[in-house]
Amino acid sequence: MSRKGKNTIWFLLSVLIILALVVPAACAEEARPEIKNPDIFVEDTIGEPDSLDPAYAYDTASGELIQAIYEPLIYFKGTSTDEYAPVLATEWDVSDDGLTYRFKIREGVKFHNGDDLTPEDVEYSFERGMVQDYVAGPQWMLFEPLLKRASSRGSGGTVIPLSDITSAVEVDGQWVQFNLAQKYAPFLQILCQTWSSIVDKEWCIAQGDWDGTEASYKALNSPAANQTPLNSKANGTGPFKLDSWEPGTVTMLRNDDYWGKKANFSTFVYKVVSEWTTRKLELTQGDCDWAYVDRQYINELTDEEALNLKVYKNLPQLRFDVFNFTQEIDPDSDWVGNGKLDGNGIPLDFFSDKDVRIGFNYAFDWETYIEDVFLGEMTQTASPVVEGLPYFNDKQEMYSLDLAKAEEHLKAAWGGQVWEKGFKFTVTYNTGNISRKTACDILKANLAEINPKFQVTVRAIEWSEFLDQYAQSLLPMFQIGWQADYPDPHNFLQPYMHSEGVYAAAMGYSNPDVDALIEEGIGADSDRREEIYYELQKIYHDDALGIALGQQLGRRYFKAWVKGYIFNPVDPADIGHVYKLSKEY
């Protein structure tokens, strides 16, 4: 046979062999609505978890996993945000002065490695968190109520005495007692979240974590990113135990010794799939049971029945988005034109005039924004206090598109100079964020319509640059969102309105009356709190601190065979409490 002939035969043979291997594998998975992998739950999402250390992790992706592996003392009951169900604590009481909280610890609970749960573990969990106090972590939420400070570190690089931390949490028999430094209404809510998870003291110490001494405290305080002993290892009491964490895939196995009702499937796989097309196809093919669906693609999945999906809609997420005004722009800003009110720029305190801010508010078209960008699934709010939070005032007046009123206020601004001379500045958004870009475009178009001398340029900048610019108050206007840490108005208002709040500070906003109200609100009784927070919502609106874009309504996309999902507004962004779900028709 000629060499050419032989080559051809070899080639055909290898193609046949490959086909023989590939085709059976392919045929095995045809698209019938048969439950795929019935004993495995697969979650396709976009967020890579940061750390599995409950005291360290602050992002929602990590939160999702920590919730499956670890447990807190109490958690919200069902869909409520102010009623609690016992988890690792069986009963609790709060002293009349609101400074002492006591929890009775459940007996008969074991950690994944077999150790018993004791009150000492609970005490250790909170103390070790404060000892560690990661610089970008959630510990400030425990420092505020327990020690009335933001962190363990003071000025000059010193740390507070260890005794301060250890006296905040104490063991009394089968009870654990928290000694607060100030009356703090949302304390129980904070205890529900992942940073209040309970870890195993003996196991942690064996992994090299804090051993109780002063020396160990100083050595472990303020760790470098991801350098805590519990970063990639886990030992909790929860319904799942960690099997492996490869970048992009976290595999968890059912805890068969769980003290409560065991999970309905043996394996929980958390997968990061950043490419939308791939994620969508995995969802439609049934290769995953839940997938994260960006808002702009919901039209591709409308036929729920044909795709065998169950979609939960209009979920009131505790999230607030706003277009902030910087009232004191830093002189180094590149976005203010020539810095003068002569039509070719804006002065650095341009937004300190209330009429400017109110005028801009009336120039924003919420209807178009909500319809076109969020496909109608967003509620406008008047202030950072969103629906679902206690003391939300649904009767609070809000702005709406009214070019006549906008004109009126802008004519009054800066003694009429704004109207006469016009202005020019650049508004930026972080590259890739289409909804933010659209908000910029809407504002720009409407302002130009009111008066052609109002010139706004829209520019995209990288996220890192955005952070940089924002942190130095270089951006005249910037969009930012806030996701609830815990469901209380304090969590939302403090950053935006208190002069030391992270956003208010960047905006250059400072109002001592507001500060006083916020500080009083945290510990006041229920009626007084209602008064205070209603007042603050009104102030936010009247002072027009920003253009309050609103509260996004969420959607969750499951395959139709997933049952048992309950949405609680405080759940981390994805599912939360996966073990309660089951796969059946």
Binding site: I18, L21, V22, P24, A25, A26, E30, A31, N37, I40, E48, P49, D50, S51, Y58, D59, V135, A136, W140, A150, S151, R153, S222, A225, N226, S232, D243, S244, W245, E246, P247, G248, T249, T251, T267, V269, V273, S274, E275, T277, T278, L281, Q285, D287, C288, E462, W463, S464, L467, D468, Y470, A471, Q472, I480, G481, W482, Q483, D485, V502, A506
Partner: protein
């Protein structure tokens, strides 16, 4: 110049090159402010409250030479730092992601090189006949296709339209669990090789099935490129004097083409192999992103976008070493094939 001395000298040159690469990166860091670099550690604007502390903690405000020195010190102690993108130490990250990329390249490279050379010389030997025109048009279209477009189109047809026939990612979920279970031993972390070593046909089939699209995506463009180059350089060498001589001597066309023309035509191809490596490197990034194949391409990209400097540096060191050694091999091959070239040639 003596061969051994030459090789030793070239390997020693690794040192200044690596210094050069890492210094260049640190130099580029000058373009970023400390806050921009701090963005790596901030996933949510809430954490901005502690921005100063974060910058302090990681020494982002220190002068560049101090940061470089700290890093250098770390490296000499065997510590390449922590990769935030991969959630593991940098050296682990590189070893962890390497197998995925190697697997794609392992299947793609022979296809590209042999396919390209074969098609190219065939086209040149049959210049202006049908074979030439057909392969030429095919190659030109292949070379003009955007890789990412091709990948997405292939996915659409073979995954979407044909209901999951050829899916993305490395393995299906059930096979993934088999591979990470205790019953399966991961010798090389290359799924195909491991499957063979473990005698598991199902995993092998699954892995191959997942490899088909990425390999095709990355090969098309490169085959076309090699083919074009091979053809034009073959044509050039076929026109050379020694070819006429060979023909005049009475040698058959086959020997003329294979032994003489092809050998000399491969010189530019060899030079381009460095370029090819770079092309494969970028092709792999796009391919890995589209098919959710977590390999080195994906790691490089993520670390660049998120300003994960430790990973960037570690990755640069790795590619630096790889590249220098590859170039050395190419230059040696060069000298072997073309006797006119003297290693480290001096002007007379």
């Amino acid at each position: 110049m003596e061969l051994r001395a030459y090789v030793v000298r070239r390997v020693l040159l690794l040192v200044p090159v690596l210094f050069g690469v890492t210094l260049l990166i640190f130099g580029l860091l000058q373009l970023f402010t400390p806050i921009q670099r701090a963005s790596l550690y901030i996933s949510d604007p809430k954490q901005l409250a502690n921005l100063d502390q974060i910058i302090e903690r990681y020494g982002l405000n220190d002068p560049i030479w101090k940061q470089y020195w700290t890093w250098l010190n770390q490296v000499f102690h065997g510590n390449l730092g922590w990769s935030k993108v991969a959630s593991m130490p940098v050296d682990n990250a590189i070893w962890h992601f390497l197998p995925s990329t190697i697997e794609i390249v392992l299947f793609a490279a022979p296809l590209i090189i042999f396919g390209g050379i074969y098609l190219g010389s065939k086209a040149a030997a049959n210049k202006d006949r049908t074979v030439d025109h057909v392969t030429r048009v095919g190659a030109i279209i292949g070379w003009s296709l955007p890789t990412f477009w091709l990948g997405l189109m292939l996915l659409m047809v073979f995954y979407g339209f044909f209901h999951g026939l050829l899916p993305p990612e490395r393995l299906s979920t059930s096979m993934q669990l088999v591979v990470t279970s205790s019953g399966f031993h991961q010798y090389t972390h290359l799924n195909t090789v491991d499957a063979v070593l473990n005698g598991n046909i199902r995993v092998l089939g699954d892995a191959l099935r997942h490899l088909i699209l990425p390999v095709i995506t990355i090969s098309v463009v490169n085959i076309a490129f090699i083919m074009r180059l091979m053809r034009s350089s073959m044509l050039e060498s076929l026109g050379k004097g020694y070819i006429l001589t060979a023909r005049a001597k009475g040698l058959d066309e086959r020997t003329v083409v294979n032994k003489h023309a092809r050998r000399n035509a491969m010189i530019p191809v060899l030079t381009i192999s460095g370029y090819l490596l770079a092309s494969l490197a970028s092709g792999v990034v796009i391919t890995e992103t589209i098919f959710n194949y977590r390999g080195l391409g994906w790691l490089a990209w993520q670390s660049a976008v998120r300003l994960d400097i430790p990973t960037v540096l570690g990755f640069a060191l790795f590619t630096g070493v790889l590249f220098v050694l590859t170039n050395l091999v190419v230059d040696l091959l060069y000298a072997r094939i073309d006797p006119r070239v003297r290693l480290g040639g001096q002007a007379k």
